[in-house]
């Protein structure tokens, strides 16, 4: 009964999932919090356990998160009646601009920023990673282009006997070339379709792994329409180019030479 009364008087805090798991804390438990180790602190009740937001700036940060009532926190850390920042909600974008202007004109000792200005700064880590991914992406695209070109050249080259036979039957160069290019294009499109499928499955695995690893709802890999379109178009273009190059060489060679005579 005494414990219940005590609990009713205690202030509440929220803690994050990781802290709850690591310290075996549950909603309703009592804990002591202090600003420095070894000093007296406040007893508090855990009111809620919160999950992490989908915020890039929180990725790979392993420290625990605790939310306290402002006045209690100020007192605990000896901060007086001071805060680091205010979050201000406005009615629409235009209102945000005028509010920022008005605050900065009247402010004494602080400045107002748009949220996205802060976001740019805090998500710098992700911006760097994103630039890195883009660079790796370019290298991968060049590598796949060479690979694709090579495979398609081989594929068309394999048809030399068929091409020779068609030419000997009297089929025109143009028709032979068209059929070869069409085949290469078809192979490219089917291949890229399979590739998109593999990419989609891989993205599911990547998201599953990293969401669990960093305990975040963020999605790390996305297969978007643009990406699919880019992949299919690139392989189609490469297929047509490789097909045309190889086919041109084949139809310009005498059929008997193609047959090795």
């Amino acid at each position: 009964m005494v414990a219940l009364l005590l609990a009713l008087q205690l202030r509440t805090i929220t803690i994050d999932q990781r802290l709850a798991t690591d310290a075996h804390l549950r909603v309703g438990d009592t804990a002591v919090i202090s600003a420095t180790t070894g000093t007296d602190g406040d007893s508090v009740t855990i009111a809620a356990i919160v999950g992490r937001r989908a915020d890039p700036s929180e990725i790979a940060r392993s420290e625990y998160r605790v939310h306290l009532h402002l006045d209690q926190f100020q007192r605990l850390i000896g901060y007086g009646d001071r805060v680091d920042r205010f979050a201000v909600s406005t009615r629409g974008d235009a209102a945000a601009d005028s509010a920022v202007r008005a605050i900065n004109a009247a402010a004494f000792g602080f400045r107002a920023y748009r949220s996205h200005e802060i976001a740019v700064e805090t998500s710098e880590t992700f911006a760097v990673v994103s630039r890195f991914h883009r660079a790796i992406g370019v290298i991968t695209i060049v590598a796949s282009a060479v690979f694709l070109l090579c495979i398609l050249l081989l594929k068309v080259d394999e048809r030399r006997r068929d091409v020779a036979a068609l030419r000997l039957l009297g089929i025109s160069r143009r028709s032979v070339m068209l059929s070869v290019v069409l085949e290469a294009a078809l192979v490219s499109v089917i291949g890229s379709g399979v590739g998109v499928g593999i990419g989609w499955v891989t993205s599911l695995a990547v998201n599953w792994h990293y969401q669990a690893r960093y305990q975040t709802p963020l999605r790390f890999a996305l297969v978007t329409g643009d990406i699919v379109l880019f992949a299919v178009s690139l392989s189609l273009v490469l297929g047509i180019v490789a097909g045309a190059l190889a086919a041109r060489r084949l139809v310009r060679t005498h059929p008997l030479v193609l047959l090795g005579r």
Partner: protein, 395 residues
């Protein structure tokens, strides 16, 4: 003769060979970069941590060096206690704080470390004198550029700023004694080093004799586990971080890059392997007749296999060598991107070149080339002679 045959075979389809070598080169470049990324980042961080020989750091419990504003009280007593241990060679107490260089109405904020110049491990003096006098300091090039200060100048530096009253506290006139290169700071970060006692007085940390961390150098690195055990029991309010512990934390934070490098490295290897296998298989299929005739006139199965494997290996080795050069160029480019990672010391190289990395990449790809040639070679050398000759004659 076998080498001549292998090279001649590769020359037969020049465009095809060239494309394959180019493909292998890109795969090799990627592989080298990924090997460099997976091992270099760690090694670079290790070298950085050990650059001044300090193998251990003591920080307020639950924090990393300068990660928070938490500090340790009673620094002098702890320093004396540590220095009394026979295993300990050197102790460097460090206080970190933001300070403001006052210039008329404006000020420039910079990071300051308070150190004992005779035992510090945070910077290397580049020119001028060290900050041995109580009213002196040394600064890095970024600071000198931002403030236009020269060695010998006296600057007014304050430790505290009240944004509401716009007043500074803990102000001192300090003389710029020298130019230094700070080891653990991010690129572009302004930094100065001030004698520890001076900074403590400026920030008000003197009252409780507070510091942010201790750096400790042992005479014998083999004693780290013993000293760590002793420190943990004698200084319970502190975290003892050895180089290995710091490496483990870095590993955890940057595990993403290790995983990425493992995946992309594996993909590069597979691509290189597939490319060489496909090419050698097609090339072998095209000259089944030749191969069977070679066998018929008495060329042994082993020699046919050797010759075909040589083709794959020649392509892989050429591609891998080209790829090594290409990989070094791309690594520099990728390193430039990642060096802008916020909060990481500028001295860390994500892509640190180590000869072992190059040998690993070349070795792996060569092994791939050999393996890639083995299957088509074995298949070709095992063709039934009489039947294949008959089929070839019909074709």
């Amino acid at each position: 003769m076998r080498l001549l045959l292998a090279l001649a075979s590769l020359r037969r389809n020049r465009a095809r060979t060239l494309l394959a070598v180019l493909g292998v080169a890109i795969a090799a470049a990627m592989l080298l970069d990924m090997v460099m990324l997976s091992t270099g980042m760690r090694e670079s961080f290790r070298q950085l941590l050990l650059s001044r020989g300090f193998q251990m750091r003591l920080t307020p419990r639950g924090t990393l060096p300068f990660d928070t504003e938490a500090s340790i009280a009673g620094a002098t007593a702890i320093t004396d206690g540590l220095r009394a241990r026979p295993e300990i060679d050197l102790v460097s107490p460090v206080l970190g704080a933001s300070v403001h260089v006052l210039r008329g109405d404006s000020s420039i904020t910079t990071f300051a470390v308070g150190v004992d110049p005779s035992a510090q491990g945070d910077y290397q003096l580049a020119s001028g004198r060290d900050a041995t006098a109580p009213n002196s300091f040394v600064a890095n090039d970024d600071f000198l550029r931002a403030t236009n200060a020269k060695i010998g100048d006296t600057l007014r530096i304050a430790a505290g700023f009240d944004p509401q009253l716009r007043t500074h506290s803990g102000e001192r006139a300090l003389v710029l004694a020298g130019r230094a290169r700070f080891l653990y700071l991010a690129a572009g970060q302004l930094a100065i080093a001030i004698p520890l006692r001076t900074l403590q007085e400026m920030t008000g940390a003197a009252r409780e004799d507070r510091v942010s961390l201790f750096m400790v150098r042992l005479r014998d690195p083999g004693r780290i586990p013993d000293v760590k055990r002793w420190m943990r029991s004698a200084l319970p309010a502190m975290d003892v971080i050895s180089t290995a512990d710091a490496m483990a934390r870095v590993d955890e934070r940057l595990s993403y890059f290790r995983q990425l490098s493992a995946i992309l490295g594996a993909v590069s290897l597979i691509v290189g392997f597939l490319l060489v296998t496909t090419l050698v298989t097609v090339s072998v299929n095209e000259r089944v007749g030749e191969i069977v005739v070679m066998r018929a006139i008495g060329v042994s199965r082993a020699h046919v296999v050797q010759q075909i494997v040589l083709e794959g290996t020649a392509m892989s080795v050429t591609g891998a060598l080209l790829g090594t050069g290409l990989g070094l160029v791309t690594a520099r480019y990728l390193n430039a991107i990642l060096s802008r990672f916020p909060g990481l010391p500028a001295a860390i190289d994500f892509f640190l070149f180590q000869p072992r990395a190059a040998w690993t990449a070349i070795g792996l790809l060569t092994a791939c080339g050999v393996l890639a040639g083995l299957y088509p070679a074995w298949r070709a050398a095992s063709l039934p002679l009489a039947r294949t000759l008959r089929e070839e004659a019909v074709a």
